[in-house]
Every structure is written in structure tokens, then in C-alpha cells.
């Protein structure tokens, strides 16, 4: 392991792209597209190194997560890795398993990425995002709502994946909120893969022994990295049964849209500790002013998936 002052040099594949940032990483990150932008210093360095057991002045947000008022954070997953969000530009990872294990990236591109997005003053929405007709369509909801499955199904209809699980929104962009593309990969459970007629052969498991897999779309090099204007957000929920008088897709009033989006801010408790509640709530108003927000109800077994997908496409270009 390199020491804390060790300098990370561009890997054999060179620097990488993530949400508009130039990333230089010790860890192999096969899901990220190569950096094709300007010659500039990296915005983010991911180092392999020692992570202190306790951050100075840390508050325990959960048994897994310490945060400080200086907006540092330490996430620890026993047997996988410890992660230290040290600044807006640096993440230190201390692996407890082979450094190229997908398990390590599962949490790096989960909670750690979400906290980095907060730290960089952007909005991480708990959503997957698809580009339909040049516009961003976010599919938001809790784990199990079916975000990734719907997103993957939409890519099979010719649309491009912009991000999975965390949708990074810049509401301060000129011309309205935009989504920063992350990487072309979704995480799908065995049953979702099967529902789409795919198997898990040859796919990396999200965690060792878990039947949840990384599905990477071929050609990270072709990944479009330009920010995408946000056109629609679908707040997704799964329901076992149909209820009478309830449409599958329902456009929400501004107040219901604000409330629904506020529930889907990713890593909200830490964001509140870091004093971001007010600015995030304002950002939600900007999103609701610029984008259409829908309540999307799907059946738990994904029956009627095709009609849902067509409705999402129709609303995206209306």
C-alpha cells in the first residue's frame, strides 16, 4: 500500500471520467469511461492507503459511517474495505479483500459517491437515469422499486444509460437542471435478469455470494459524457396488486412532487448533518419547476412492463 503522501499516477488505461470529473485511481475501475476532456489536473484522486480507525471529531451516523463537520466521512464494511472521503478531491480506500473485487466498488459507487456529490455541492437523487431523445429521464425510488430493471429495459429499446442508482443533478446549470453522466453499468438481481431473458453467466457479482450482478453495457469508451437536461422524474413504486382507480402513471402536483423528491435525496441524514437541507430543498423546487414529475406504479412481477416503458418514452418526448 502506498503511504498517505504517495502520488497516484495515471494508470495504464489513463485517467477516467465520472460525473464530469477527471478521475485518477489506484483501484481498477472498469465501469468508468476514459477521460477524453481537457488536459487538466484530476478533479478526484482515488488512492489505496491507510484509513484511520476514527476521524477527528467524528460523529457516528450509523454503525458503518462516521462523518465530521468538515465534511469528511469514513465508511467501513467489515471484510470488504474502509473508505475515507478526505476532501472534495480525494478518496482513500483500504481494501480488506483483493483490490479488484467488485465488492469494493459496490460501496465506492454507492454511499461514498453519494457523499462526494454532497460535498461537491450537487444533488444526488436516488434514481437511475436514461437519455431519451436527448433528454434525461430519471427513475427514482427506494431499493427494490425497480429503478435499475426499468433503466436496463429502456436501454434494450435503444436508449442510453446515463447513471444507475445515483443521479447527479446540477440545478445551477444555465438553462436548467442537468444530469451528469456517471458510467454505463446497472446492478440487477437474478430475477430481473431472467425477466429480461438474460442470464448471469460471466457477470461479476455485486457482493461475493450474492445473486445481484453488475451488468455493464459494452463500450465504456463510447459513453456520452455531456450533461443531459433533466426532462422528467418518475417516482417509482412496486405494488403487489392493482388498486381500482389508480393510474400506472400519474402526474404530480408541485407539492406532491416536492415531497416525493425530498424523500429520494440520497444519503439524506449526512446531508442534514452537513447543513445542506435548505439548499437541497431549494434545488428540488428548481427541479420541479423545470421537469415533469410522475408517480409510476409497477406490478411487483413486472407484468405490463412494455406498456410502462412506452408511457415513459411518450412522456419524455411530449
Amino acid at each position: 500500500m502506498s503511504g498517505e503522501s504517495g502520488r497516484v499516477t495515471a494508470g495504464p488505461g489513463g485517467d477516467l471520467f465520472l460525473c464530469g470529473w477527471r478521475v485518477r485511481s489506484d483501484l481498477v475501475l472498469p465501469e468508468l469511461a476514459p477521460w477524453n476532456g481537457d488536459e487538466q489536473e484530476p478533479d478526484l484522486t482515488i488512492r489505496i492507503g491507510a484509513v484511520p480507525a476514527r476521524l477527528d471529531g467524528a460523529l457516528d451516523v450509523s454503525p458503518l459511517l462516521q462523518v465530521t463537520s468538515q465534511r469528511q466521512a469514513r465508511l467501513s464494511i467489515d471484510g470488504v474495505a474502509s473508505y475515507w472521503l478526505r476532501s472534495s478531491h480525494e478518496i482513500v480506500v483500504d481494501p480488506q479483500m483483493a483490490a479488484d473485487s467488485p465488492d469494493i466498488r459496490t460501496f465506492l459507487f454507492g454511499t461514498v459517491l453519494g457523499l462526494l456529490v454532497h460535498r461537491r455541492g450537487l444533488m444526488p437523487l436516488h434514481a437511475s437515469c436514461i437519455r431519451i431523445g436527448g433528454k434525461g429521464v430519471a427513475i427514482s425510488g427506494m431499493s427494490g422499486a425497480g429503478k435499475s430493471t426499468l433503466a436496463a429495459a429502456l436501454t434494450r429499446r435503444g436508449h442510453a444509460l446515463v447513471s444507475d442508482d445515483i443521479c447527479v443533478i446540477d440545478t445551477g446549470a444555465v438553462g436548467g437542471p442537468v444530469v451528469w453522466p456517471a458510467f454505463p453499468r446497472v446492478k440487477l438481481w437474478q430475477d430481473s435478469l431472467e425477466a429480461m431473458g438474460m442470464g448471469s453467466d460471466g457477470l461479476e457479482a455485486n457482493r461475493f455470494g450474492q445473486r445481484k450482478y453488475y451488468l455493464r453495457f459494452a463500450g465504456a469508451a463510447d459513453f456520452q459524457t455531456a450533461p443531459v437536461p433533466l426532462k422528467a422524474v418518475h417516482l417509482l413504486r412496486a405494488q403487489n396488486v392493482a388498486l381500482s382507480g389508480q393510474a400506472d402513471i400519474q402526474k404530480l402536483s408541485p407539492m406532491a412532487a416536492v415531497a416525493g423528491l425530498n424523500d429520494q435525496i440520497y444519503r439524506k441524514r449526512t446531508a442534514a448533518i452537513w447543513g445542506r437541507e435548505g439548499e437541497l430543498f431549494k434545488a428540488i423546487g428548481q427541479i420541479v419547476s423545470a421537469a415533469d414529475v410522475y408517480r409510476l406504479t409497477r406490478r411487483s412481477d413486472f407484468s405490463q412492463l412494455d406498456s410502462l416503458l412506452r408511457s415513459i418514452e411518450d412522456d419524455a418526448v411530449s
Partner: protein
């Protein structure tokens, strides 16, 4: 039980609340209660005026000066809105 405010009360925005604007109208959230409150155009105008503490009477006067309508009716509408905001802990009444 909802008690009415008096014209001499001073009102101001509560410390703990969240506010955002959608197309010029405010949507508020009480952090303590976890409830949301959507304001229409006129209520949003009142909310803007509550940025600094003022008396209910001054608020009613300002509204009467800016909107047509019966002065008593305006006063009654303002009082009703303020009582509702107070019950949702979105304003302080002193």
C-alpha cells in the same frame, strides 16, 4: 384547538423550516412535523413579507393596499393563513 391571532401580534418565519419556489409559488416544509404546505400566489406574497418580523396589522394593511377587496375580508383571510402557518410551526408569533 385553534386560537385566532390578534392584530397586535408580531409574526415572522419560523427558524426551523424549509422553503422552495416552484413557478413563483412557495412550498414549505416543517422540519419538526414533516408536513408540507403549498402556498398560492397571494399566500406566497405574504410569505415574502414575513422575511422580517412585522405586526399582523401592518401585514393586513400592506395586503389591502396591494389587492382589491373588502378590507375586513382581507384581514380575515390573512388571519386564517397565519393561524394555519402557526399550527404547522412555519411561523413564530410573538
Amino acid at each position: 384547538m385553534r386560537s385566532t391571532l390578534s392584530l397586535t401580534d408580531t409574526v415572522s418565519r419560523a427558524q426551523k423550516h424549509l422553503a422552495t419556489e416552484v413557478d413563483g409559488n412557495f412550498i414549505l416544509m416543517s422540519i419538526e412535523g414533516g408536513t408540507y404546505c403549498g402556498l398560492d400566489e397571494i399566500a406566497s406574497d405574504i410569505w415574502r413579507r414575513l422575511a422580517r418580523p412585522l405586526t399582523v396589522e401592518a401585514l393586513c394593511q400592506a395586503m389591502a393596499a396591494n389587492y382589491r377587496g373588502d378590507r375586513e375580508q382581507i384581514t380575515a383571510d390573512v388571519l386564517e393563513l397565519l393561524a394555519s402557518l402557526r399550527d404547522q410551526r412555519l411561523i413564530d408569533v410573538g
